[in-house]
């Protein structure tokens, strides 16, 4: 019997996907779990395994077209529909009403009731925006009351000034990545009370030693030991001293994370992606450097897998590579803080009563002030500084850092 193949939900906050390449063509026989189609989402490119065994009879969505999660993309002929292959019951009333079918059962939070949908449409709030509201209903569902409270909080100011057009203006369509970054950043700023701390770190020794030995290190370790690797190592050390920095805010309490999964911001052409080094506290400096190299490579080639971008517990962003000397980054939703490492700049500083020139870097922390206070933030930064400044150098020092 014919069964529809639908675009699955491919990440926590992905709502649409672009058909990259059909790996099977009409008439092809397909085993269950055999790669069927390449899907490009705002976060990752994945090969979607076939949910059924049978023959691909029809491709409904051509390559290059972007569709919402839940949209039928192909039809397959199967011998009979096994229980799990039966088209899922429509998720309550949700998929019936709106024009954009939404994430099926798994994304409880994104399931909107008819009245919420209606109200959102009336008040000009997009479904995506509604889905970002923290819900108080069952499974985090956004209720009508939640939406009304949100609208009240949001007030009228945000919508007060309609964008006016000038001659020659051009509208850049949002790429899925741009839209996702926008949503998550706006959500973070809306929900998390950000506070900031910045300290100066003297990296003179580190810079000097790295310049002197980086080629030897690379030859021996098989990877370029970057500054980022040192920063990550220092972050792990500081997290061990101040575990609350590695946590999440929930209404029930502060969720201390056991795993230290460090996210690293990677700049791409049309946005920023955060790749995650799992169990970063289990890696030595070389291990961290290898992870960074591997993830950056994958990100630039568009080959990040879903697991490469999920599960981060603390993030490090390095705007210093672009020359920024003072950054105030936005916390990744669900985390307690984000570390910023700015450009390393030669500065005149006072040491032992004399002005000397040192390699100085601003090390900053944006943190969720609900979870901890400035004292913790500053101690955390000082701990990182101590670690970074403790680097004594020498050819072998890299092994001990």
């Amino acid at each position: 019997m014919p069964v529809e193949v639908k675009l699955p939900q491919l990440g926590e906050s992905t709502y649409e996907g672009t058909i990259g390449k059909w790996l099977k063509h009409p008439g092809d026989r397909v085993e269950r779990f055999e790669p069927l189609v390449e899907i490009i989402t705002d976060k990752v490119n994945v090969e979607m395994p076939s949910p059924h065994e049978g023959v691909l009879t029809k491709v409904l969505i051509p390559e290059g077209q972007t569709v919402a999660v839940g949209t039928p993309i192909a039809v397959m002929e199967t011998a009979d529909a096994p229980a799990e292959a039966r088209p899922a019951a429509p998720p309550a009333p949700v998929s019936v009403g709106g024009s954009a079918p939404r994430a099926p059962v798994t994304a409880e939070g994104a399931r909107l009731s008819p009245v919420v949908r209606n109200l959102a449409a009336e008040r000009g709030v997009s479904v995506e925006e509604v889905a970002q509201i923290p819900g108080t209903g069952a499974g985090g569902r956004v209720t009508k009351e939640d939406l009304l409270a949100y609208l009240q909080r949001r007030g009228t100011t945000e919508r007060a000034a309609p964008t006016s057009l000038h001659a020659g203006d051009q509208l850049l369509k949002l790429s899925p990545l741009r839209r996702s970054v926008a949503q998550r950043m706006a959500q973070s700023k809306r929900e998390i009370p950000h506070a900031y701390g910045v300290i100066e770190v003297d990296l003179s020794t580190l810079v000097r030693e790295r310049e002197a030995h980086k080629d030897a290190w690379r030859a021996r370790e098989g990877v370029n030991i970057t500054y980022t690797a040192f920063f990550l190592r220092a972050a792990v050390d500081a997290v061990k001293a101040f575990p609350i920095v590695n946590s999440s805010w929930t209404e029930e309490g502060i969720l201390l994370r056991k795993a230290v999964n460090l996210g690293i911001g990677i700049a791409l052409e049309d946005g920023l992606i955060v790749a995650v080094i799992k169990a970063a506290d289990q890696e030595n400096l070389t291990g961290l450097a290898k992870q960074v190299e591997m993830l950056s490579g994958k990100a630039r080639e568009g080959k990040l897998a879903l697991e490469d971008v999920q599960g981060g517990t603390l993030t490090l962003t390095n705007p210093g590579v672009f020359g920024s000397i003072w950054s105030m980054p936005i916390i990744v939703p669900g985390q307690a803080a984000i570390i910023a490492t700015d450009a390393i700049v030669k500065r005149p500083v006072v040491r032992d009563g004399a002005v000397v020139i040192r390699e100085i870097m601003h090390l900053g922390l944006a943190f969720d002030h609900r979870i901890f206070d400035g004292a913790i933030a500053d101690q955390f930064l000082h701990r990182m500084r101590q670690k970074l400044e403790s680097f004594t150098g020498g050819e072998r020092a890299v092994r001990d850092f």
Binding site: S113, V115, R117, T143
Partner: protein
């Protein structure tokens, strides 16, 4: 205004209507000398005589059939079934004859008969004295079905039923007879067949119930209110024709609907209310329509623990209210 028991209000309506209109008569098992198994027709025989207060054999089909014949020929009979459980032999007369008389005769005949039936589970009355039968009859076009829940409505709606030009099935939940009391005016008044009544205002969810379930629902609403859940409770006192407007207005206000009925769940009367809301109030819903009804087993069990498991109580309703409010 004097406070009467539900049964007294029913009795009073009989007395007043029989006095007002000599075409009104009563027939049924033990309605005369005994005054009815529950006392609904007490005192009528003495006042109005054997011609108007007729003790019949134990033959429900003929009670209904004779009443239909009387009604077609100008009388206004009230046919009492001792228990709604025993109405089934009369199904054919009620459904095929009474309900369709006006339609089938192209308006030449009407059939102004009132069928009274005590229904529902009481204490330990088990399979043969506990049935809810409303779904069978509310399904039939041409038949009006009412289930008043207060003494005021019982008297006013029985009078309205007697004066109605078409057949009315008048359901009285037997548990209310001596338990439910309320103010009832002495004189003549009617409560129209049709409109529902909002018995309690609320903003968080709407409860639709009738008969004894209304009282359980009101008690559950009190319990829920103590937890901050404000339930609106609507008395569906006329099951057919259904007052759709009141239901839809309430759902538009609260966005959540809970339907309570004592009958077993599958294809019970509340299913129609659920369908109405799904069809006409879809865009008002913030949660799925929920039902509280009895389990789908063949009858109300006799054993007390099983009866407790079966019947819909205020605790079960309150639990559903919490679930719906939290959805």
């Amino acid at each position: 205004m004097p406070e009467l028991r539900y049964i007294d209000a029913i009795n009073q309506a009989h007395h007043e209507e029989m006095l007002r209109d000599e075409r009104v008569l009563v027939m049924g098992e033990d309605v005369g000398r005994k005054g009815g198994v529950f006392g609904a027709t007490m005192g009528l025989l003495e006042k109005f005589g054997e011609d108007r207060v007729i003790d019949t054999p134990l033959a429900e089909s003929s009670i209904a059939g004779v009443a239909v014949g009387m009604a077609c020929n100008g009388l206004l009979p009230i046919a009492e079934f001792q228990f709604a459980d025993f109405i089934h032999p009369a199904f054919d007369q009620i459904v095929s004859e009474a309900a369709r008389m006006r339609y089938r005769s192209n308006n030449a005949f009407s059939c102004p008969v009132v069928f009274r039936a005590p229904y529902g589970a009481s204490h330990g009355t088990a399979l043969y004295h506990s049935q809810s039968i409303e779904a069978f009859y509310a399904h039939v076009p041409g038949l009006k079905v009412v289930a008043p829940a207060t003494p005021y409505d019982a008297k006013g709606m029985l009078k309205a039923a007697i004066r109605d030009p078409d057949p009315v099935l008048f359901l009285e939940h037997k548990r209310m007879y001596r338990v439910v009391k309320g103010e009832v005016p002495d004189g003549d008044y009617t409560v129209p067949i049709g409109p529902s009544a909002v018995r309690r205002q609320g903003k968080d969810l709407s409860v639709f119930a009738y008969g004894w379930m209304l009282h359980e629902s009101l008690a559950a609403a009190d319990a829920a209110a103590a937890e901050g859940i404000e339930a609106e409770v609507v008395d569906i006192r006329t099951l057919a024709p259904l007052d759709r407007g009141t239901i839809l207005t309430s759902v538009a206000k609260t966005n959540r609907a809970l339907i309570v009925y004592e009958d077993n769940s599958f294809m019970g009367y509340g299913a129609e209310i659920a369908a109405l809301i799904a069809e006409h109030a879809f865009s008002d819903l913030d949660a799925p329509v929920m039902r509280v009804a009895a389990p789908d087993v063949p009858g109300v069990p006799f054993a007390k623990p099983l009866e407790e498991w079966f019947v819909v109580t205020k605790d079960k309703i309150a639990a559903a209210m919490r679930k719906l409010a939290a959805y």
